[in-house]
Structure formats: structure tokens, C-alpha cells
């Protein structure tokens, strides 16, 4: 796995539901989502988004992550070759298990968002003993 070569992927745009306020494209970030006994963890690639431009919103069991990029070009620059488009990121998820909303933690480093959603006490898994009978 370590020696696998990366292949470029075109960014997928968010299907438009309502008209955006901010002009420009909006993409779906690539995510990893995994679950541990204590928490649900979401890791999203959002290159170009500074830490203070990330919003995480949870309404009941609907999670929205959004990241706004800084201007991709300097003031006097013009593009010569374009291989990827730049734009904001947004993605929505439906959360299955109950989340303890007070303890949600988010960290953004080098364009990667890591969101830890601790499970509420009642949603933690219980091991069920099978009685021999």
C-alpha cells in the first residue's frame, strides 16, 4: 500500500439545491468516516481552506461541513494553465447514532478537517453475552 502511486481525480461539484450567496464553485470534499466505541470521526480534505473559515453545523441528526477558500490567486496574477478548479467545499451527512453535541471537537491542519463526534452515553455499544441455555 505504501508504494501505490496516486492518480489525479477531478473534483466533484455539489449538486445545486438553492442559489449560492457566494459566487464560485462548490465541491464535495473527499472524506474518511470511521467509528470507534466512543466516537464517530470524520476526516475531510479541503485544501485552501484556512482554519477560521470552517463551519460545522448539526441540526438534529443532519451534519453539514463547509469550508471557504482564500483567494486562489494573487492580485496581479493571471492563469496560464489550469488543471483543477478552485472553490469552496460543502458536504452533508445524516448521522445514525446519537451524538453528544457539547463535546464535538474540530481541528483543521494543512487543509484537512478532523471532526470528532463523541457518542452520547445511550448510543455506546454494549457487548451482549449469550447465555448458554
Amino acid at each position: 500500500m505504501a508504494e501505490k502511486e496516486l492518480k489525479p481525480k477531478a473534483k466533484e461539484e455539489v449538486p445545486a439545491k438553492a442559489e449560492p450567496v457566494r459566487p464560485g464553485r462548490v465541491f464535495l470534499p473527499a472524506v474518511d468516516i470511521f467509528e470507534t466505541p466512543e466516537a464517530l470521526v470524520l476526516v475531510a480534505d479541503m485544501p485552501g481552506v484556512p482554519p477560521d473559515q470552517v463551519t460545522v453545523d448539526i441540526k438534529e441528526s443532519h451534519l453539514t461541513i463547509r469550508g471557504e477558500i482564500s483567494p486562489p490567486l494573487g492580485a496581479k496574477e493571471t492563469l496560464v494553465t489550469q488543471e483543477f478548479y478552485t472553490g469552496d467545499y460543502q458536504r452533508e451527512f445524516h448521522l445514525g447514532s446519537t451524538i453528544d453535541q457539547k463535546r464535538i471537537a474540530a481541528a483543521m491542519k494543512d487543509g484537512v478537517l478532523r471532526l470528532t463526534l463523541p457518542k452520547a452515553e445511550k448510543a455506546k455499544p454494549r457487548k451482549i453475552q449469550v447465555k448458554a441455555g
Binding site: 500500500m1 505504501a2 508504494e3 501505490k4 502511486e5 496516486l6 492518480k7 489525479p8 477531478a10 464553485r25 473527499a30 472524506v31 474518511d32 468516516i33 470511521f34 467509528e35 470507534t36 466505541p37 470521526v41 476526516v43 480534505d45 479541503m46 485544501p47 485552501g48 481552506v49 484556512p50 482554519p51 482564500s70 486562489p72 490567486l73 494573487g74 496581479k76 496574477e77 493571471t78 492563469l79 496560464v80 494553465t81 489550469q82 488543471e83 483543477f84 478548479y85 478552485t86 491542519k109 494543512d110 487543509g111 484537512v112
Partner: protein, 149 residues
């Protein structure tokens, strides 16, 4: 034999080129501003821009440790090599989705002009690598004054 009036420079390819131009204009109008994408098929994808004095090459490399990046400039070739590592999570983690990929990459970017290899800067911020190259002095634009007759 009927005489066919030909426009100078006419040819089947010219028709094709004109069609291609119309198609790319249509695409640009449909999908918004920006140049039509150039697809080299090699990671990482780069955008190249310029201003009067410099050329900028940018690549999206989220979560890459700058220590795992190797940047080389040779004449008008810029070589980007590196590795993207995704740290393994705890053993008890079970995945719902796994879209992010780890792996190595090596790419040559042919720059639009020869650059001064002594004046290359690279910075990494919010997952974006920016390589700044300086145009050689002789290629910089010069303003030409018109002499009064």
C-alpha cells in the same frame, strides 16, 4: 470538373478547429469562468499563473508533510516528488467511508518559460503548495516609448 472556390487556408482541419473552438466556448459558458481544464493524468494537478516578474505553480496537497516533498528545478522542468501518508487509526476503528488516498507521486511540470534556478521559492499553506519562480531579466516585459517625430 466543377471549380471549387477555396478560401485561402481552407482545409478539413480548419473546420475541425473552428468546431473545437465553438465547443470549448460553449463549455466555458455552461460551466462558468476559468480556462478549459488540461488533464495530464499525473498527480498532483497544478495550476500555473504569472504576473510581471514571476511564475506561480500551485498544487493541492492536503495533509502532506512538507518534509515528504521534494522539489527540483532543471531548466524549464519543475519536478514534484513526494508521498502522501494517511496515519493509521486505532485498531478498534471501523470504517463507514474511505475516500482519501495515500501513495507516492512524481511529476514533471514543463514551465512556460525557462526560469532562474537560483530564485525558486516554495511555500505550503492550508494544504496548498505554491512554487514561486522568477522570470529571467531578459524575458521581462519592457515598455517601449514612441519617439516624437
Amino acid at each position: 470538373m466543377p471549380v471549387i472556390f477555396r478560401e485561402p487556408g481552407w482545409g478539413p482541419f480548419r473546420e475541425m478547429e473552428s468546431l473545437q473552438r465553438q465547443m470549448s466556448r460553449l463549455l466555458a459558458e455552461t460551466f462558468g469562468p476559468g480556462l478549459p481544464l488540461w488533464r495530464p493524468g499525473v498527480y498532483p494537478l497544478v495550476n500555473i499563473s504569472e504576473d510581471q516578474d514571476r511564475v506561480y505553480v500551485r498544487a493541492e496537497l492536503p495533509g502532506i508533510d512538507p518534509k515528504d516533498l521534494e522539489i527540483t528545478v532543471h531548466q524549464s522542468n519543475l519536478i514534484l516528488r513526494g508521498q502522501r501518508k494517511i496515519p493509521g487509526e486505532a485498531k478498534e476503528a471501523n470504517y463507514h467511508r474511505r475516500e482519501r488516498e495515500a501513495g507516492t507521486f512524481r511529476r514533471v511540470v514543463v514551465l512556460p518559460l525557462a526560469v532562474d534556478p537560483g530564485k525558486v521559492d516554495a511555500s505550503f499553506k492550508d494544504g496548498i503548495l505554491t512554487v514561486t519562480l522568477t522570470k529571467p531579466a531578459k524575458l521581462k516585459p519592457r515598455q517601449i516609448k514612441i519617439k516624437a517625430g
